[in-house]
C-alpha cells in the first residue's frame, strides 16, 4: 500500500470513527425495538421525526385554525375570543345566488372565489399546454438545448415577489412595455387598470414564472418513453400527430396528471406574484381567494381572523376534493393504460 493510500485509509477511518461509535450506541436499543415491533415498528421509528415536525407545523396549526373559525372577535388569543359555532361559515355562505356576488353578504369572498375559478381554468389549461409544448421542443435535438432548458427554468428560481415587481415595472403606465409601444408610434395603454389586461397579465406572469418546473417533469417523462416505439412508428410511416396522440400522450399521462394536479393546487393558492403585480385590482378583478384570506385576516383595517380562518378551511376543503378527484382520474387512467 502506498503512503497516500495509507493516509487516505487512516483519514477515512478517523472520520468514520465518531459515526461508528454513535451507531454502536444506537444499535442496542434499535435491535431491541426491531425485535419487539418488527419491520413496521422500524418504519414508524424512522418516520417519527418527520411526522412530529409535520404535526407541529402543519397538523396542529390546522386544528387551531379550525377552532378559530368557530370564534369571533378582534383578539388573537383563542381564550379571549367568543365561541360562535358555525356563524362565520354561515356569513360566508349567506348568498341569494352564488353566481351573483351582489346577493352575497360577503361579496368580496365570492368575488375572490369566482376570480379564482376563472384563473384556475385558464391558467391550468395554459400552463399544461405551454409546458407540454416546451418539453416537446426541448426534447428534440435542437442547437443549444442545455442553454434553452436553463433559460426556461430560470424564472422558477426567482422569488415570486421579484417576479411580480419585474412585471409590474414592465406593465405599469410608465413601464417598459408602454415605452416600447410609444417608440413604435403606438398609443400607450394602462395595462394594469384594464380588467382584461390585468387578468391576462396575472395568468401570463404566473405561467412564465412556474412553467420551467412543470416542463422539467414532462421532460423527464418524455425521456423515459422507450425510443424503439418511435422507431417502430417511423418505420410504419406514422404521421407525427398520430405518434403524439397514440404514443407520446398516453405514455406521458402519469407525468401529465402530476403536472395538472400540482398546477391546479398552485393555481388555487395563487397569491404572491399577483398581489405584487396588480394588488388584486383593478377593482377586485384579480382578487384571489388567498389574498382575500390574507387581507381579512391580517392586512385590512376591517380584519376578522375568525372569518379568515373559516374561508381558509373552505378553501382547504375544495383543495382536498380537487386532489381526490384528480387522483381518482389518475388511477383510472393508469388502470386503463395497464389493460391496454
Amino acid at each position: 500500500m502506498t503512503a497516500a493510500a495509507t493516509l487516505k485509509a487512516w483519514t477515512g477511518a478517523a472520520l468514520a470513527a465518531p459515526v461508528v461509535w454513535l451507531a454502536s450506541i444506537v444499535n442496542v436499543p434499535l435491535k431491541f425495538w426491531q425485535r419487539a415491533t418488527g419491520t413496521g415498528g422500524m418504519a414508524a421509528f424512522f418516520l417519527a421525526p418527520n411526522m412530529a415536525i409535520f404535526g407541529i407545523f402543519v397538523l396542529v396549526p390546522m386544528i387551531i385554525n379550525f377552532f378559530y373559525s368557530a370564534t369571533s372577535g378582534t383578539a388573537y388569543f383563542l381564550q379571549d375570543r367568543t365561541y360562535v359555532g358555525l356563524e362565520q361559515y354561515q356569513r360566508l355562505l349567506d348568498c341569494g345566488n352564488y353566481l351573483d356576488t351582489a346577493t352575497c353578504h360577503e361579496d368580496l369572498f365570492w368575488k375572490a372565489v369566482h376570480n379564482t375559478g376563472l384563473f384556475v381554468v385558464v391558467q391550468v389549461a395554459l400552463m399544461t399546454v405551454v409546458s407540454m409544448a416546451t418539453a416537446l421542443i426541448l426534447n428534440r435535438e435542437i442547437v443549444g438545448r442545455s442553454f434553452w432548458r436553463a433559460v426556461f427554468f430560470f424564472p422558477v428560481l426567482l422569488s415570486p415577489v421579484v417576479t411580480g415587481l419585474i412585471w409590474r415595472w414592465i406593465l405599469q403606465r410608465q413601464g417598459l412595455l408602454n415605452l416600447i409601444v410609444h417608440d413604435l408610434g403606438g398609443e400607450p395603454h394602462n395595462w394594469l387598470t384594464d380588467r382584461f389586461w390585468a387578468f391576462t397579465a396575472a395568468v401570463s406572469v404566473s405561467v412564465w414564472a412556474h412553467m420551467g418546473f412543470y416542463t422539467l417533469i414532462l421532460l423527464a417523462g418524455l425521456q423515459a418513453i422507450p425510443r424503439d416505439l418511435y422507431e417502430a412508428a417511423e418505420m410504419d410511416g406514422t404521421k407525427p400527430a398520430r405518434v403524439f396522440w397514440r404514443i407520446t400522450l398516453p405514455l406521458l399521462m402519469p407525468n401529465l396528471l402530476v403536472v395538472i394536479v400540482l398546477t391546479l393546487i398552485r393555481a388555487v393558492q395563487i397569491f404572491d406574484e399577483v398581489y405584487v403585480l396588480t394588488g388584486g385590482g383593478p377593482g377586485t378583478s384579480t382578487l384571489y381567494i388567498t389574498q382575500y384570506i390574507y387581507e381579512i385576516g391580517f392586512a385590512s383595517l376591517l380584519r376578522n381572523p375568525g372569518l379568515a380562518s373559516a374561508a381558509s378551511i373552505l378553501m382547504g376543503l375544495v383543495l382536498v376534493v380537487l386532489t381526490l378527484v384528480q387522483l381518482q382520474v389518475g388511477r383510472r387512467g393508469e388502470r386503463k393504460g395497464a389493460r391496454e
Partner: protein, 422 residues
C-alpha cells in the same frame, strides 16, 4: 453531583437571560418615512451618554411590520418597550400608563393635552406617550407647471371644483396623464368629505350611516376618475383597503395637483430637489368648509415592558420641549407639543425654498380644521370607516359597483366590524 447542579444552574441562567430584558435595556420599534430614524438615533445617543445606565436599542422596521406584526406581538403580551405607531386608538389597551412613572405628569398634560385622548381608552386619563408628529391632510401644486400653462393658482378659499378645473387646464396644456390624484386612503378623502358636510360619528358615538356630505364628495371623485381627471392608477389598481400614495406621480411631474398631507413635505423636498417649484395649498373648500384631517404617529410605551422606570426616563427625555423642537426642525414634521407650537419660531432645517412656506401653510391650516374632522383621530371606529370607504369607492371607480350599491356596502362593512368587535 455538584457538577451537574452547576451545569443546570448555568443553563437556567442563560435561558432566563435569553428570554428577559436586562435592567437598563430599552427597545424601541421605529419606522421611518424620511430622515426621522437618523434624527431619533442621534438624540438617543445623546440620551445614552447622559444616562449610561440605560441602553436604548432602536429597531428600524418597515411600516408594514408596525401595522401587521406589532398588533400580534401585543396580543401575545410581547413586543418592544416603546413603539412608534399610527394605529393609536385601536391598540390603546396595550399602552403603558406613564402617569405614575414620569417625572412631571402635569408637564405632559399641559403640552400634549390635545392629543392624549387619541391614544388612550375612552374615559381614561392615562399618559401612554406623545405624538412624534402631527399630520394634516392637504394639497400640493406644481407651481412650475401652472406657470408654464399660464394658469393662475387658485386662491385660499378656492373650492374643489375650482382646483380640479384649474389643474385640468394645466394637464391639458402640458399634455399630462391626469389633472390630480389623491392617495388611496379612506383617511385622505375624509377631509374633503367633511368639507362637504360629512359626519361619520352618530349621536351615540357609534358609526353613522353614510351621509350626504360623503356622498357629495365621493360622487365628484368617482366622476372625476371616470372623466380621466383623477389619475386612475392610484385607486383602481388595487383591491381592499391597500394603501397607495400618488407622491411619485407628483414628483415625476405627471400631475399638477396632489392631495396628500404634511408628512410628504420632506419626501417632496428630497426627491424633487430643484426640478420644479411646488407649494402647499391647504385643503380646497367644499360646501361646508375647507378642512383637512389631523393624524400622526405616536411614540407609546408598551405595558408589557420589563423596565417601566427606564422606559419612562426615555420618554421623559424625548418629550422634552427642546428635544421635540429639535426633532421637528430636523425631520420637517409638525410638532404636537403645545409649548413648541405656542412659542413658534421653528427653524426648519432645509435649504429648499419650498419647504418653509409649505410647512407654515400646514401649521396655519391645522388651526382651521372643522370639528367633525377633529373628532376623527380619537374615534375608535375611524379606521373601520376609512377601510370601508376606500374598499368600496375603488370598486365604484373600477365599474364593479354603482354608488348606491357602494353606500349600502360601506354601511354593512362598518356594521359587521362593530358586531365583530363586541
Amino acid at each position: 453531583m455538584n457538577k451537574t447542579r452547576t451545569l443546570l444552574a448555568a443553563l437556567s441562567v442563560s435561558l432566563l437571560a435569553s428570554t428577559s430584558a436586562f435592567a437598563g435595556d430599552v427597545r424601541i420599534m421605529w419606522y421611518s418615512d424620511g430622515v426621522e430614524g437618523d434624527v431619533i438615533q442621534d438624540i438617543l445617543n445623546r440620551f445614552m451618554k447622559d444616562n449610561p445606565d440605560i441602553h436604548v436599542t432602536l429597531d428600524n422596521v418597515a411600516y408594514k411590520v408596525i401595522q401587521e406584526q406589532l398588533p400580534i406581538q401585543l396580543e401575545a403580551g410581547q413586543g418592544p418597550d416603546i413603539a412608534r405607531v399610527t394605529n393609536i386608538k385601536e391598540l390603546a389597551q396595550h399602552w403603558l400608563d406613564l402617569r405614575p412613572l414620569v417625572a412631571d405628569p402635569k408637564y405632559w398634560e399641559a403640552n400634549f393635552a390635545d392629543t392624549l385622548d387619541w391614544m388612550r381608552p375612552d374615559g381614561s386619563n392615562a399618559i401612554p406617550g406623545f405624538m412624534t408628529q402631527l399630520t394634516l391632510t392637504g394639497g400640493f401644486a406644481n407651481k412650475t407647471l401652472f406657470e408654464q400653462a399660464g394658469v393662475p393658482l387658485p386662491g385660499d378659499k378656492a373650492t374643489w371644483d375650482d382646483w380640479i378645473a384649474a389643474a385640468a387646464e394645466v394637464a391639458k396644456s402640458q399634455q399630462l396623464p391626469a389633472a390630480f390624484a389623491i392617495d388611496r386612503s379612506g383617511h385622505r378623502i375624509s377631509g374633503p368629505n367633511v368639507s362637504f358636510g360629512a359626519n361619520y360619528i352618530g349621536s351615540d358615538g357609534m358609526p353613522a350611516k353614510v351621509d350626504d356630505g360623503t356622498k357629495a364628495f365621493v360622487g365628484k371623485l368617482v366622476d372625476w376618475t371616470a372623466k380621466g381627471l383623477m389619475l386612475k392608477d392610484t385607486w383602481v389598481s388595487a383591491a381592499g383597503s391597500t394603501y397607495r400614495a400618488a407622491a411619485d406621480d407628483f414628483i415625476n411631474a405627471q400631475i399638477p395637483f396632489y392631495y396628500s398631507g404634511s408628512w410628504q413635505v420632506a419626501n417632496l423636498s428630497t426627491k424633487i430637489g430643484d426640478s420644479f417649484d411646488w407649494v402647499a395649498t391647504g385643503s380646497p373648500c367644499g360646501t361646508a368648509g375647507c378642512s383637512g384631517v389631523k393624524g400622526g404617529a405616536a411614540l407609546v410605551a408598551i405595558k408589557y415592558t420589563k423596565n417601566p422606570k427606564d422606559v419612562a426616563k426615555v420618554m421623559d427625555y424625548l418629550a422634552r420641549e427642546d428635544v421635540v423642537k429639535e426633532f421637528s426642525e430636523r425631520t420637517l414634521f409638525l410638532p404636537a407639543h403645545k409649548g413648541v407650537v405656542d412659542k413658534g419660531g421653528l427653524k426648519w432645517v432645509s435649504a429648499d425654498k419650498n419647504v418653509g412656506p409649505a410647512l407654515d401653510k400646514f401649521v396655519k391650516a391645522a388651526g382651521e380644521t372643522m370639528p367633525a374632522a377633529d373628532a376623527l383621530p380619537p374615534w375608535k371606529w375611524a379606521n373601520a370607516y376609512f377601510a370601508a370607504l376606500v374598499t368600496r369607492v375603488s370598486q365604484v371607480m373600477a365599474g364593479e359597483l354603482s354608488l348606491d350599491e357602494a353606500w349600502g356596502r360601506i354601511d354593512q362593512d362598518i356594521a359587521d366590524k362593530v358586531a365583530e368587535a363586541k
